[in-house]
């Protein structure tokens, strides 16, 4: 699954006018993951990513965008490294930092979306 996500990354690239953006960097190896979220009624309807790093970091970023889809932001702000690792089908021991940087970036994006959200039922309609 890791190789498949690396070979064909899902939801790669920037997003225009996202409802939430978050990133994280793993300084020891300069890996950087950034997520963009489109949110409707407190749920992620689309997640996109940009990542710099080794193959597992790119694959974990791709898997995390699928993991985030249709999830409430409240769940995503507590996203664990373990669930990212599971989503990518496991990571080699020395590459666990890929899950760490990806989970942290996704949590940051979810927090950003929650902070930005005007608490109204039609929030997000302008982006349709």
């Amino acid at each position: 699954m890791l190789i498949e996500h690396f070979r064909n990354p899902r939801n790669a690239g920037m997003m225009r006018d996202p409802d939430g953006v978050g990133e994280s960097e793993y300084a020891a190896c300069m890996d950087l993951a950034r997520f963009y979220l489109r949110v409707r009624e407190g749920c992620v309807v689309e997640a996109r990513f940009q990542s710099y790093g080794c193959g597992p970091t790119i694959a974990a970023s791709s898997a995390a965008t699928e993991l985030a889809a249709n999830r409430p932001l409240e769940e995503l702000i507590a996203l664990t490294e373990r669930s990212v690792e599971d989503a990518v089908g496991g990571l080699p021991g020395e590459r666990r930092h890929a899950a760490l940087v990806v989970a942290e970036a996704m949590r940051a994006a979810a927090r950003d979306a929650l902070e930005r959200a005007p608490r109204g039922p039609n929030h997000g309609d302008q982006h349709v």
Binding site: A28, Y52, R95
Partner: protein, 384 residues
């Protein structure tokens, strides 16, 4: 994925079919211990001594100046520690881009009270012989400079260094693991006292290598426990490996010049193809004074291992200039010593070509690199 292209010959090479054939009788038929006096032992001894003649003849040195070891790392350790142990104290000169077999050995000498000078290199990875001259001290006992670096492939001016050390009567060790059997090397002409070389870089087996020690060089054994190799390196000889090594050297003597020309052309075809199609890429190492088959490139904004993995998925084997281990990425110390900025060095990839590499292989690699690097760059966020 059907096509497989191996471009990591500086790491290791496939054993040549002629070498395999030469080795086979020494597993089941001539299996004796070469130290034994009976016929079984004598047959094995003959295989070892024939190989020694093949190596000595290739280098233009005396047969008794060639010692077989278990690998390039052992040869480097033996050369440096053997000289140091004979002198007990003193000063050693080496360069910042040596293989770890030399660097770590020199560091261990420092812990034992020796002084070591690590010379810098220029932007092409070249040591300046004048730096060697300037670094010499009254108590300098050894200069150790590699013939060519495995990563950048830059060929060092060892003959110029050899002239300096010969004038001063200082032992000169050359790690020739990456050049032996690939380009001309003549210890007598180059003023080399000790030369490390290995079999598996030249289509021979792994686990066997050699050290040339010029007659009269004052050094002592560092491995004890037997009378092998004229009491200089204890341990039963790896007979099939040594026989294979001898054959590999014989094949190199025959094929080396033609192959060097062919690989230089393919190496340049690879670089020119990539440079024409991929923006923000640079070639590392000396533009001309470089190993025939070595092409080390930096792709800005992309991490080495992503390229290695992406090419692996296309059946292509290359090596990364930076390695991610336990969550830490260290850019190549060789490229850093050459002054290459970290953001470039993080995207270093080495392609090393060999006898099986074809023009079609190179074109396939170029075709794969361009979209892969573009994809990885598209994925990559701009840093704040």
């Amino acid at each position: 994925m059907n096509r497989r292209v191996y471009l990591d010959h500086n790491a290791s090479t496939p054993v040549h079919p002629e070498v395999v054939q030469a080795m086979l009788p020494y597993f089941e038929e001539h299996f004796g211990n070469p130290s034994s006096v009976h016929a079984f032992g004598r047959e094995a001894r003959e295989g070892v001594e024939t190989a020694r003649e093949q190596v000595a003849s290739f280098l233009g040195v005396g047969k008794d100046e060639v010692i077989f070891t278990s690998g390039g790392t052992e040869s480097d350790n033996f050369a440096i520690k053997g000289i140091a142990a004979a002198r007990k104290r003193g000063h050693v000169i080496t360069s910042q881009i040596e293989h770890h077999a030399v660097l770590r050995t020199c560091q261990s000498l420092e812990e034992s009270g020796f002084d070591v000078t690590y010379l810098p290199v220029d932007g092409d990875g070249m040591v300046d012989p004048d730096d060697v001259r300037r670094a010499l001290r009254a108590d300098t006992i050894l200069v150790s400079i590699m013939h060519a670096n495995s990563e950048a492939g830059t060929i060092q001016p060892v003959a110029d260094v050899g002239r300096i050390t010969r004038e001063r009567g200082i032992a000169f060790h050359v790690d020739g693991v990456q050049t032996f059997g690939k380009i001309a090397i003549d210890p007598g002409v180059f003023g080399i006292d000790l030369l490390s070389f290995s079999a598996h870089k030249i289509y021979g087996p792994k686990g066997v290598a050699g050290l040339y020690v010029r007659k009269g060089t004052k050094m002592v054994a560092v491995q004890h426990g037997g009378e092998h190799e004229r009491r200089r390196r204890a341990g039963t000889e790896n007979v099939p490996g040594i026989v294979g090594f001898g054959k590999a050297v014989e094949v190199r003597a025959r094929d080396m010049a033609e192959e060097a020309g062919r690989l230089t052309g393919l190496r340049d075809r690879l670089w020119e193809g990539i440079e024409a199609r991929v923006p923000d890429v640079r070639l590392n190492g000396h533009p001309t004074e470089r190993l025939p088959g070595t092409c080390n490139m930096c792709f800005r904004g992309v991490e080495s291992e992503s390229i290695v993995l992406g090419l692996d998925l296309k059946g292509i084997g290359v090596s990364a200039g930076s390695a991610c281990t336990s969550g830490n990425v260290e850019p190549s110390y060789v490229l850093v010593a050459m002054g290459i900025p970290v953001e470039w060095a993080m995207g270093a990839v080495r392609c090393s070509l060999g006898r099986g590499t074809s023009a079609a292989d190179i074109d396939y690699v170029v075709d794969c690199v361009e979209p892969l690097v573009r994809k990885l760059r598209d994925l990559s966020p701009a840093r704040a």
